[in-house]
Every structure is written in C-alpha cells, then in structure tokens.
Amino acid sequence: MTEIFGVPIAALFGQLVLGLVNGCFYAMLSLGLAIIFGMLNIINFAHGAFYMLGAVFTWFFLTTWNISWWWSLLLAPLAVGIFGIVVERVFLKRLYKVDPLYGLLLTFGLALVIEGLFRYKYGASGLPYGIPEVFQGALNLGFMFLPKYRAIVVGVTLVVCFGTWLVIERTQLGAYLRAGTENPPLVQAFGINVPAMITLTYAIGVGLAGLAGVLAAPTLQVSPLMGSNLIIVVFAVVVIGGMGSILGSILTGLGLGLIEGLTKVFYSQASNTVVFMIMALVLLVRPAGLFGREK
C-alpha cells in the first residue's frame, strides 16, 4: 500500500474528508454567526442550540411522522428559522439599545434552557439516525473509498454557502442587507423596513445552523449536547477568520476542518486543541483575524 510520511494514503485521505465534513459544519455555523453579528451586533451563543435543534427535528420528523431526510433538509431549517423569529421578536429586540454583551449573555441563557429541556426529555446520550439508503456505501476513487454521504454533506454545504454569498453580494436584498449593516437609520430613511430585515437575518442565520444540524444528524450522533461543544470551536474559528467577510468565514471554516483532520492523522492528541492553538497564534501575529477589517 502507498504511504506518505509513514501514513497509508487511504487513511490520510479518509481523515481529510472527515476533516472537510467537520469544516463544513464550522463554515455554515460561522457564516450564520457572521451574518447575525453584522446586522444585530449580537454574538449568538444559542447558535449551537439551534444546530442541535436542526438535528433533533430531523430525527423527530423521521421517527414521528416518517418524513424522509430529503424533506427534513427543507423543513427542519424552516422550523428552526421560525423558532428564531420568535426568539428575535420576544427577546433580542429588547436589547438593541444596550451593550452588545447583554446579547451574548441572553443567548447563553437561552442555550442553557433549550439544551437543558431537550436533555431532560431525551437524556444526554445519542438518538440514532441512520444514513438515508440512497447514500449508503462508498465511491471507489482509486486511491481511496469516499463514503457517499460525506460527499453529499460537502456538496450541499458548498452550494448553500456560496449561494448565501451570491445572495448577499449580488442581489437587491443582499444590497439592502449590506447597507443595513453599515448604517441602519439611513436605510430606514429610504423606506426599507429595517426591523423586518433584522428579524429575517436572524432567521436565516439560525436556519443555516439548523441546516448544519440536518447534515450532521446521520454522521454524528444526534444528542441534546452536540451543539455546546461545537459552538466554542466555532467561536475560535470566528476569531481566526474575523467576521468582516462572508467568503472569509466560509474559507476559514473549511480550512480549519482540514487542518484538524490532518492533526488527527499525525498527532491525534492535539486534534481537540489545534483550532484553539491556531487562534492563539493568529492573535499574536494578526490580532484582527485573517480576514478582519477593523483596526
């Protein structure tokens, strides 16, 4: 068998693909965080909880109403988005005039409530969700076997992320959104309904987290606590990339996933911590983050 640095090529690429899959989740979550931060000036600590909701809804839809994974791909993010609208209207809109730190504290509390309730209902262990039948098995690429489902996760993520980028950078709605991020009162003066736009932004942001949850359901275990550990890594990703650029957060997320995968091959003890170490390094060299714009 062919080897690189004493590691079989198939194993190396296997871990890289796994890393890329994780990178997809990082990318989608940090993209949502960046969009929300741009418009609401709030760091959504509940983002991990919304990701978990996406996965649990997927599981619930299948086991209760026998709704297939394909439909969940559409319905679960929608449900998460609607839940997000409620959260924004009931809680967050009261905080726009105070220090942004309160937004972080409130969403932290919400995350504890949501996760605590689901943990109470379903326990801390995982809920099983099988890979949809169409995507079972693997493709033989010659040098490695690529599990079909992982290819799908990467494909869906790339389409969704670049779709979001296109909408923000190239459409009328995106132009309003960018303008609203820069100067809300001015945009409102032009007759655009800024509060509705803020609500919509939050819904889309958490919807992306929900979508990541749907994609995660068949590969990782569906569990009420799946979001809370992930969100801290995603925060580090956001610090590394800086939240100024949409494309930047997508690329940073994917790249860090790959690095994490490589670490698993060559020095697995550090795979949990490598992202945090890179964050420390970036803070030393480029405090504003790789794609950051602020001073």
Partner: protein
C-alpha cells in the same frame, strides 16, 4: 446617623454574622459559598469595573485547584504553600490569557477567553497529573502553619473566611485606589482614557492578572475544602456560573457578587436533588430574566430603590 456610620455598622454586623454562621449552617456549604463569592468578586473586578467580559474564568479557578491538589497530595507541600502554589499558577496563566485576549475588545474578548479556557480543559482532560476523567481525589487538608488542624470543618471555615476577607478587602482597596479610577474610566469610555494619556492595555492587563490570581485563590481554597478536584472545575459551565452570580447579584457593586454567589450556590444545592438535570434550565432562565428585567442585579436594584426612597425626602 451619617451614611458612613451606617455603612461601618453594616460591615460590623456582616462580620459578626460571618463569625457565627458555622454554628448555625453546615460549614462545608458555607465554605463552598465563600469560595464562589471570592471567585465572583474577582470576576467582577474585570467585568464590573473594567468592562471586560471573560467567559473563561473557570480556567484560573480550576488550574489553581489542580495545582494545589497536586502539590499537596503528590509533592507533600504544606497546605498554605500548596494554596500559594495554586494561586501563583493561576497568576501565570492569567498573564498568558491576558496577553492574548486584550488584543481584541468587547465581544471578541469574551469569545477568545472562552476558547482559551476550552483549550485548558482539553489539556487537563488528557494530562496525567490531573487524573483525567477521575479527577484528583483524596487531597489532604493538612495543617496550617504546622499547628492549626484543618481536618476540623469549623477550624477550616475560619481559615476560609479569613482568605475570603483578604481577597475581598484587596478588591475593595483596588477599586477605591487611583488604579481603580482608571479602570472605571476605561469601562466608561476607552477612547477617552487613551486620549488622556493612559496606557489602557497595561491597566487592562494588570486588572486581568489580578482577577485571575484571585480567582485562583478561590479555586485553590475550594480544592482544600472538598479534598478533590474534577474537570467540572475547569468546565465552561463553571465560567457561565460565575458570570451569572455576578450578573444576578449586581455587577459593578462590591457586595453584588457575594449576594449572587450565595444565591446561586444555595439554589444549586437545594434544587439538584429535587429537579435533577432541570437545574441547567433554571440557571438559563435566571440568565434570561436578569438580562431582560433587572440588569443592575439584586444589590443594584436595592440600592436604586433605597436612593429613590431616601432621595425623595426633603
């Protein structure tokens, strides 16, 4: 009576209450509450007086606890020295964390401290000296200064009470010093503090390291009280708990964190056997209610009420 006299009378009553408390209330519970009160006061030095929200303070609390436990149990250091070693470790970690995190402001600062604390958590999960998932068990309480036997709960209580008072008075002194005034200036208006010629980062760093060291002192003492240290002490839940204690009690007031810590520790000990895992839900709900309804916290609201009542008099 003048307000200064009332205040000193209040302090006196609290001191007497603190001295008598172990005869009425279970000492271990009190010691735990005092440790968290000191922890929250140290945290408040940063959030309430400098305006920096650290979401990783459990790293200092836990590091000090592990080092104290390790030096006392494995290296056979006497209890006092072990506590000092733990505090010094937290101080060093504070220098590293501070050096990295004060490069960014506001919300980024919170995310960076949280991520660094998670890094520390994973290191302790894998390191051998922490005992991993099992934690560090059977730490000897030992003797203080070769004579005071700390195995006795009530004796230990007075030592813990003295440590708490030391930390509390140090914080009190810091806040009311010229240094404390600069900290408050940074909280209120950082660009203005810079334009007045203050080296803002130096002040932030000093506040951060002091806060980390005192959080460490609380963690070190906690390790001696319970004679064990587990990963819970460095978990992000613990960082969240100390944020809540400060928020609930009232950030930026000297007694707020003490009130908050006693409330949350009481709540957790009373509820955990009744509602089990729902404790997290209740903690989260208190967070939400605090942020939405009373951002000044219990002490802040009481002070506001008092001022309205007294102020309305001619």
């Amino acid at each position: 009576m003048t307000s200064a006299k009332t205040r000193y009378l209040g302090y006196g009553v609290l001191l007497v209450l603190g001295l008598l408390a172990p005869y009425v209330i279970y000492p271990v519970f009190l010691m735990n509450a005092l440790c968290f009160a000191l922890f929250a006061c140290a945290f408040n030095l940063l959030l309430g007086y400098t305006g920096l929200l650290s979401f990783g303070h459990a790293a200092f609390f836990g590091t000090a606890a592990y080092i104290t436990g390790y030096t006392a149990k494995v290296m056979g250091l006497s209890t006092g020295l072990a506590i000092l070693a733990g505090t010094a470790a937290a101080l060093l970690l504070g220098i590293i964390f501070g050096g990295l995190s004060i490069r960014r402001q506001g919300i980024y600062f919170a995310m960076i401290t949280l991520a660094l604390a998670q890094l520390v958590f994973f290191v302790y999960l894998q390191a051998s000296f922490t005992g991993g998932e099992d934690g560090l068990q059977a730490i000897p309480r030992g003797k203080l200064l070769w004579v005071i036997n700390l195995e006795n709960d009530r004796t230990l209580y007075y030592v813990v009470f003295a440590i708490f008072l030391f930390g509390f008075l140090l914080i009190h002194r810091t806040i009311h010093s010229p240094f404390g005034q600069v900290m408050k200036a940074i909280r209120e208006n950082e660009p203005r503090a810079i334009s007045l010629g203050y080296d803002v980062n130096k002040y932030k760093m000093l506040a951060f390291v002091l806060s980390a060291a005192l959080a460490g002192l609380a963690g070190a003492t906690n390790a001696i009280v319970f004679t064990f240290v587990t990963l819970t002490n460095v978990d992000w839940h613990t960082s969240g708990d100390v944020v809540l204690m400060t928020l609930l009690g009232g950030m930026g007031s000297i007694f707020g964190p003490v009130v908050g810590a006693f409330s949350i520790v009481t709540l957790e000990s009373k509820l955990s056997d009744k509602v089990g895992s729902l404790v997290t839900v209740i903690i989260g709900a208190i967070f939400v209610i605090c942020v939405l309804l009373f951002r000044r916290g219990i002490v802040g609201e009481i002070q506001g009420l008092y001022r309205r009542v007294v102020g309305s008099r001619p």
